[in-house]
Amino acid sequence: MLNITKFREAKSLKITLEGRFDTGTAPQLEEIVRTELADVETLIFDFAKLEYISSAGLRVLLAAQKIMNKQGRMVVKNVSDEVKEIFEVTGFTDILTLE
Protein backbone atom coordinates (compact mmCIF):
# COMPACT_ATOMS: atom_id res chain seq x y z
CA MET A 1 0.00 0.00 0.00
CA LEU A 2 1.14 3.54 -0.79
CA ASN A 3 -0.40 6.74 0.58
CA ILE A 4 0.30 9.80 -1.52
CA THR A 5 -0.22 13.29 -0.09
CA LYS A 6 0.15 16.33 -2.34
CA PHE A 7 0.68 19.91 -1.26
CA ARG A 8 0.54 22.54 -3.97
CA GLU A 9 1.78 26.10 -3.50
CA ALA A 10 2.24 28.38 -6.53
CA LYS A 11 4.73 26.57 -8.81
CA SER A 12 5.91 24.20 -6.13
CA LEU A 13 4.54 20.68 -5.55
CA LYS A 14 5.41 18.60 -2.52
CA ILE A 15 4.57 14.89 -2.62
CA THR A 16 4.77 12.81 0.56
CA LEU A 17 4.90 9.04 0.16
CA GLU A 18 4.02 6.61 2.91
CA GLY A 19 4.30 2.83 2.58
CA ARG A 20 5.55 0.70 -0.29
CA PHE A 21 6.53 2.04 -3.70
CA ASP A 22 6.47 -1.17 -5.76
CA THR A 23 5.07 -2.73 -8.93
CA GLY A 24 1.57 -2.62 -7.47
CA THR A 25 1.59 1.00 -6.32
CA ALA A 26 3.98 2.73 -8.77
CA PRO A 27 1.19 3.40 -11.33
CA GLN A 28 -0.51 5.74 -8.82
CA LEU A 29 2.48 8.06 -8.76
CA GLU A 30 3.20 7.55 -12.45
CA GLU A 31 -0.23 9.03 -13.18
CA ILE A 32 0.56 12.13 -11.09
CA VAL A 33 3.96 12.55 -12.78
CA ARG A 34 2.35 12.22 -16.19
CA THR A 35 -0.56 14.62 -15.63
CA GLU A 36 0.22 17.10 -12.85
CA LEU A 37 3.72 18.47 -13.45
CA ALA A 38 2.91 20.77 -16.37
CA ASP A 39 3.58 24.11 -14.62
CA VAL A 40 5.61 22.83 -11.66
CA GLU A 41 9.05 24.38 -11.25
CA THR A 42 9.98 22.84 -7.90
CA LEU A 43 9.08 19.23 -7.15
CA ILE A 44 9.78 17.97 -3.64
CA PHE A 45 9.42 14.36 -2.53
CA ASP A 46 9.31 13.59 1.18
CA PHE A 47 10.34 9.97 1.78
CA ALA A 48 10.39 10.04 5.61
CA LYS A 49 7.66 7.41 5.75
CA LEU A 50 8.62 5.46 2.65
CA GLU A 51 9.42 1.91 3.75
CA TYR A 52 10.28 0.28 0.47
CA ILE A 53 11.21 1.01 -3.14
CA SER A 54 11.78 -1.39 -6.03
CA SER A 55 12.83 -0.81 -9.64
CA ALA A 56 9.18 -0.01 -10.47
CA GLY A 57 9.47 2.98 -8.11
CA LEU A 58 12.86 3.96 -9.51
CA ARG A 59 11.37 4.00 -13.00
CA VAL A 60 8.81 6.64 -11.93
CA LEU A 61 11.42 8.73 -10.11
CA LEU A 62 13.60 8.70 -13.22
CA ALA A 63 10.65 9.84 -15.36
CA ALA A 64 9.95 12.68 -12.90
CA GLN A 65 13.62 13.70 -12.83
CA LYS A 66 13.78 13.82 -16.64
CA ILE A 67 10.73 16.12 -16.72
CA MET A 68 12.06 18.38 -13.96
CA ASN A 69 15.49 18.63 -15.62
CA LYS A 70 13.70 20.50 -18.39
CA GLN A 71 11.48 22.79 -16.35
CA GLY A 72 12.93 23.30 -12.88
CA ARG A 73 14.31 21.23 -10.04
CA MET A 74 13.47 18.11 -8.07
CA VAL A 75 14.55 17.29 -4.53
CA VAL A 76 14.11 14.07 -2.53
CA LYS A 77 14.06 14.60 1.24
CA ASN A 78 14.35 12.41 4.34
CA VAL A 79 15.48 9.20 2.64
CA SER A 80 15.94 6.25 5.01
CA ASP A 81 19.18 4.25 5.02
CA GLU A 82 17.42 1.26 3.45
CA VAL A 83 16.03 3.28 0.55
CA LYS A 84 19.31 5.18 0.18
CA GLU A 85 21.19 1.95 -0.36
CA ILE A 86 18.86 1.13 -3.26
CA PHE A 87 19.73 4.55 -4.73
CA GLU A 88 23.44 3.87 -4.22
CA VAL A 89 23.62 0.49 -5.95
CA THR A 90 21.70 1.83 -8.96
CA GLY A 91 23.64 5.08 -9.30
CA PHE A 92 20.50 7.08 -8.45
CA THR A 93 22.44 9.03 -5.82
CA ASP A 94 24.16 10.75 -8.79
CA ILE A 95 20.91 11.42 -10.65
CA LEU A 96 18.72 12.61 -7.78
CA THR A 97 19.23 15.55 -5.45
CA LEU A 98 18.95 14.14 -1.92
CA GLU A 99 18.48 16.44 1.05
Partner: protein
Protein backbone atom coordinates in the same frame (compact mmCIF):
# COMPACT_ATOMS: atom_id res chain seq x y z
CA UNK B 1 -5.81 -21.89 -9.40
CA UNK B 2 -5.75 -22.06 -5.59
CA UNK B 3 -2.55 -21.17 -3.78
CA UNK B 4 -0.74 -24.21 -2.36
CA UNK B 5 1.33 -23.71 0.78
CA UNK B 6 3.51 -26.53 2.05
CA UNK B 7 5.41 -25.15 5.03
CA UNK B 8 8.29 -23.39 3.28
CA UNK B 9 6.94 -23.59 -0.25
CA UNK B 10 4.22 -21.58 -1.99
CA UNK B 11 2.80 -22.38 -5.42
CA UNK B 12 0.78 -19.56 -6.89
CA UNK B 13 -0.39 -18.32 -10.27
CA UNK B 14 2.37 -16.13 -11.72
CA UNK B 15 0.45 -12.84 -11.84
CA UNK B 16 1.69 -9.39 -10.83
CA UNK B 17 -1.32 -9.00 -8.54
CA UNK B 18 -0.02 -11.95 -6.46
CA UNK B 19 3.21 -10.15 -5.55
CA UNK B 20 1.87 -9.06 -2.15
CA UNK B 21 1.00 -12.68 -1.26
CA UNK B 22 4.47 -13.89 -2.27
CA UNK B 23 6.19 -11.07 -0.37
CA UNK B 24 4.19 -11.77 2.78
CA UNK B 25 4.87 -15.50 2.53
CA UNK B 26 8.62 -14.84 2.40
CA UNK B 27 8.61 -12.05 5.02
CA UNK B 28 6.86 -14.24 7.62
CA UNK B 29 9.64 -16.80 7.22
CA UNK B 30 12.35 -14.13 7.38
CA UNK B 31 10.85 -12.77 10.60
CA UNK B 32 11.01 -16.27 12.12
CA UNK B 33 14.80 -16.15 11.81
CA UNK B 34 15.04 -12.52 13.00
CA UNK B 35 16.18 -11.24 9.62
CA UNK B 36 17.36 -7.61 9.97
CA UNK B 37 15.07 -4.99 8.35
CA UNK B 38 17.66 -3.93 5.83
CA UNK B 39 18.27 -7.47 4.58
CA UNK B 40 14.52 -8.11 4.50
CA UNK B 41 13.97 -5.09 2.26
CA UNK B 42 16.80 -6.20 -0.03
CA UNK B 43 15.31 -9.68 -0.30
CA UNK B 44 11.85 -8.17 -0.96
CA UNK B 45 13.30 -6.02 -3.77
CA UNK B 46 15.05 -9.02 -5.34
CA UNK B 47 12.01 -11.29 -5.10
CA UNK B 48 9.79 -8.58 -6.60
CA UNK B 49 12.07 -8.33 -9.62
CA UNK B 50 12.17 -12.08 -10.14
CA UNK B 51 8.47 -12.76 -9.51
CA UNK B 52 7.32 -9.87 -11.72
CA UNK B 53 9.66 -11.08 -14.47
CA UNK B 54 8.05 -14.51 -14.31
CA UNK B 55 4.56 -12.96 -14.21
CA UNK B 56 5.26 -10.75 -17.23
CA UNK B 57 7.19 -13.12 -19.48
CA UNK B 58 7.28 -16.81 -18.51
CA UNK B 59 3.92 -17.93 -19.87
CA UNK B 60 2.97 -15.14 -22.27
CA UNK B 61 0.40 -14.98 -23.70
CA UNK B 62 -1.00 -17.64 -21.33
CA UNK B 63 -0.85 -18.19 -17.60
CA UNK B 64 0.94 -20.62 -15.34
CA UNK B 65 2.22 -21.27 -11.85
CA UNK B 66 5.36 -20.23 -10.00
CA UNK B 67 6.72 -21.98 -6.94
CA UNK B 68 8.62 -19.97 -4.33
CA UNK B 69 10.60 -21.84 -1.68
CA UNK B 70 12.40 -20.38 1.34
CA UNK B 71 15.32 -22.34 2.83
CA UNK B 72 17.36 -21.24 5.81
CA UNK B 73 20.73 -22.72 6.69
CA UNK B 74 23.15 -22.04 9.56
CA UNK B 75 26.81 -21.11 9.86
CA UNK B 76 26.59 -18.50 8.54
CA UNK B 77 22.84 -17.84 8.70
CA UNK B 78 21.82 -17.86 5.04
CA UNK B 79 18.45 -17.55 3.31
CA UNK B 80 17.93 -19.10 -0.12
CA UNK B 81 14.80 -18.22 -2.08
CA UNK B 82 14.16 -20.54 -5.01
CA UNK B 83 11.77 -19.68 -7.87
CA UNK B 84 10.57 -22.40 -10.23
CA UNK B 85 8.40 -21.87 -13.30
CA UNK B 86 7.65 -24.04 -16.32
CA UNK B 87 7.54 -21.24 -18.87
CA UNK B 88 9.81 -20.46 -21.78
CA UNK B 89 13.51 -20.93 -20.97
CA UNK B 90 14.86 -17.56 -19.87
CA UNK B 91 18.10 -16.71 -18.09
CA UNK B 92 17.69 -13.20 -16.65
CA UNK B 93 21.38 -13.15 -15.71
CA UNK B 94 22.48 -13.39 -19.36
CA UNK B 95 21.72 -9.70 -19.98
CA UNK B 96 24.48 -7.10 -19.87
CA UNK B 97 24.42 -4.82 -16.84
CA UNK B 98 23.09 -1.30 -17.48
CA UNK B 99 25.48 1.67 -17.25
CA UNK B 100 24.55 3.16 -13.86
CA UNK B 101 26.94 6.10 -14.28
CA UNK B 102 24.97 7.85 -17.04
CA UNK B 103 23.08 11.10 -16.31
CA UNK B 104 19.28 10.97 -16.00
CA UNK B 105 18.55 12.07 -19.55
CA UNK B 106 20.57 9.20 -21.03
CA UNK B 107 19.33 6.57 -18.60
CA UNK B 108 17.16 3.69 -19.67
CA UNK B 109 15.39 1.80 -16.95
CA UNK B 110 15.63 -1.63 -18.62
CA UNK B 111 17.74 -4.22 -16.87
CA UNK B 112 17.94 -2.22 -13.67
CA UNK B 113 15.84 -4.69 -11.66
CA UNK B 114 18.10 -7.66 -12.38
CA UNK B 115 21.19 -5.53 -11.82
CA UNK B 116 19.85 -4.51 -8.39
CA UNK B 117 19.06 -8.13 -7.60
CA UNK B 118 22.65 -9.17 -8.35
CA UNK B 119 24.04 -6.29 -6.28
CA UNK B 120 21.79 -6.83 -3.25
CA UNK B 121 22.14 -10.62 -3.03
CA UNK B 122 25.28 -12.56 -2.19
CA UNK B 123 24.61 -14.95 -5.04
CA UNK B 124 22.07 -15.37 -7.83
CA UNK B 125 22.06 -18.69 -9.69
CA UNK B 126 20.01 -19.73 -12.73
CA UNK B 127 19.55 -23.13 -14.29
CA UNK B 128 17.14 -24.69 -16.75
CA UNK B 129 16.38 -28.26 -15.84
CA UNK B 130 13.66 -30.76 -16.82
CA UNK B 131 11.52 -28.09 -18.47
CA UNK B 132 11.80 -25.64 -15.56
CA UNK B 133 13.46 -22.30 -15.01
CA UNK B 134 15.08 -22.43 -11.57
CA UNK B 135 16.44 -19.24 -10.06
CA UNK B 136 18.04 -19.03 -6.62
CA UNK B 137 18.60 -15.90 -4.56
CA UNK B 138 21.15 -16.38 -1.78
CA UNK B 139 21.48 -13.84 1.04
CA UNK B 140 23.74 -14.17 4.08
CA UNK B 141 22.18 -12.72 7.22
CA UNK B 142 25.25 -12.86 9.46
Amino acid sequence: MADVIDNNELTIEALAENLATVTEFVDVRLEQVNCPMKAQMQIDVALEEIFINIANYAYQPGKGPATVRVDVTDNPLTVTITFVDHGIPYDPLAKDDPDVTLPADQREIGGLGIFMTKKLMDDVVYEYKDGSNILRLVKKLS
